[in-house]
Symmetry: C2
């Protein structure tokens, strides 16, 4: 008797938060790998804000997920059958495998080196960690004495970004997060100099107190009103790194732009966007540096594990409701 | 009998366009220069959008003009009496002399080299020309093959900026201006590849036609809706140089920000502001290069002369109504 597996497909374009009317469960027979192919049993799904943007039918840095297609997502799995010269049974692989329990691969995914914890590979050493690293260093040019503000600071990227800034000489790192527990984690465990609860505190006033000489580098994960406030409080030659705009990903229509943009003239400031896609060839050196910090205890991280493929949709929504601390990963 | 002179002072904070309720004429005796001082008879006033921003009581890159103070402005004059070791009678000097017929100076203004046309010194080789030069080269990093869009293209800065782009290897230069005569001047005399009349044409559609592969460099003099359109049509690694935001200088309240700002992420784009103040020490080399282009006929410019100090207020408003082509200068 043929065994079956489950996969989640995009069956309609979402409006706002995603639910089971737009992401539906399909069941199919587990496929046999053909010549040159391998079969992967998926162990972990990487849940990232960008997945939500791929669900919209608008051009982006990757094409939209097509209707009827498996939801695109990073994942880690184990090769369980192979006719490929590149992959052998037992290899742990990582790549854009998608929200499914099994996948046939012929390339495009990488084998994790032995001894690497898949959860670390998916967080600090994965796309979110690399986004934090290159956004802070290559785009933001973080340097000695910088006063750095990070929004979405308790998220997978923000929490690492703040620590990268500290390792690279920032004088002060302030994180914005959405509840007291997250704020305490930032200051007590990650060593942020200050944390601001943007839901209960007056962000503009608190930032002005914490950054009396202005913000040298704002690492923006959320866009919206907080981006506008930070633009208005830039220090001379301040930089804004546009990493993401979570606050608008579920919105319909035109987002409201920041009205303080012309402070970039007064402050000779720079605002720059980037995508981690462009840095793949520089991952090894960055991963080596980050792995060293992890080993030395200078790079903390947290994984928010959710169980079962059917929980993937809800796990994605956590990113937008602020329900997570650290990297969200679904364990299959 | 003591002779008198006129000066224009800021007597109230303006709302919107400036008129004689906020800028009023004063008459005073022509002063005698004291020890170390010289008396300047002012010949030309440089009329620039930034003057309007100095009239607001908000912090900027220079302090606001105080109520009762002479309106701050670049000017060119001639030394007519001197007790200074630095200035001799007959010297032509340039600096922030203000809207007045006479001024006593002790320093802070520069002597124009003999043979330099004051009108060229105030336009192509002055602050507006230098703004165009450094904005295009140092901030915008204009280079071979770039598709460049300039707004306010018939203005003193925009008209020079487009030509600097051409001299520095741009593949295509498109100017936006507010009437057909200006557009014809851009294409027929300055050699722009295309001009778009933003008042009568569909800017987004025309830009998409002219820049099918997107905009590599947008030199923004006006802000507002056109900035938003250009952000939405950036090419990969596109740059936006924020030079000014004329469209909002007379507005009250918070300006509307550009909603396409997050295209900077998708396109790995950069938006950067600058002020020409930071480039004073690099003026000589830039002026030498620009003067060579002028001499070779590769840098056209136009001066919009207005007569009489009492016309200065109206001349300033021309910049915001689009009533000028090229550099606005008041001749006293």
């Amino acid at each position: 008797m043929t065994e079956h597996y489950r996969r989640l497909v995009l069956s309609a374009r979402p409006h706002g938060m995603v639910d089971d009317t737009v992401v539906t469960v399909e069941t199919a027979p587990i496929p046999e790998p053909g010549p040159g192919e391998a079969l992967v049993a998926v162990r972990y799904l990487s849940i990232d804000p960008t997945i939500r943007t791929w669900m919209n039918d608008v051009p982006g840095y990757l094409p939209p997920i097509g209707l009827g297609e498996v939801v695109r997502s990073g994942a880690v799995g184990e090769v369980v059958a192979s006719n490929s010269d590149h992959y052998k049974v037992g290899d742990v692989v990582t790549g854009l495998i998608g929200w499914q329990e099994y996948a046939v691969i012929s390339g495009g995914v990488n084998v994790l080196p032995a001894g690497v914890d898949p959860l670390v590979a998916m967080s600090v050493l994965g796309a979110t960690g690399m986004t934090a690293y290159f956004g802070m260093t290559d785009v933001g040019k973080v340097g000695d004495g910088d006063v750095v503000v990070v929004s979405g600071a308790a998220g997978a990227t923000g929490s690492v970004a703040g620590q990268v800034a500290q390792r690279k000489g920032a004088a002060k790192v302030i994180g914005l997060a959405g509840d007291a527990v997250k704020c305490a984690w930032l200051t007590d465990e990650l060593g942020f100099d200050a944390a601001i609860n943007y839901k209960t505190e007056h962000v503009a006033r608190r930032l002005a107190e914490e950054c009396p000489d202005g913000i040298d580098l704002y690492f923006d994960n959320i866009g919206g009103e907080i981006l506008d406030i930070c633009l208005g409080q830039l220090a001379m030659k301040g930089r804004v790194v546009l990493c993401g705009a979570i606050s608008g990903y579920n919105d319909e229509g035109r987002p409201v732009g920041p009205s303080n943009i012309f402070n970039l003239i007064i402050k000779r400031g720079r605002m720059e966007g980037f995508l981690i896609l462009d840095y793949f060839d520089r991952f090894p050196a960055a991963q080596a540096e980050m792995a060293r910090w992890v080993a030395e205890g200078h790079m903390q991280h947290k994984v928010h594990l959710v169980q079962g493929i059917e929980a993937a949709t809800g796990a994605l929504n956590l990113l937008f409701t602020g329900g997570n601390t650290g990297k969200v990963i679904v364990e299959l």
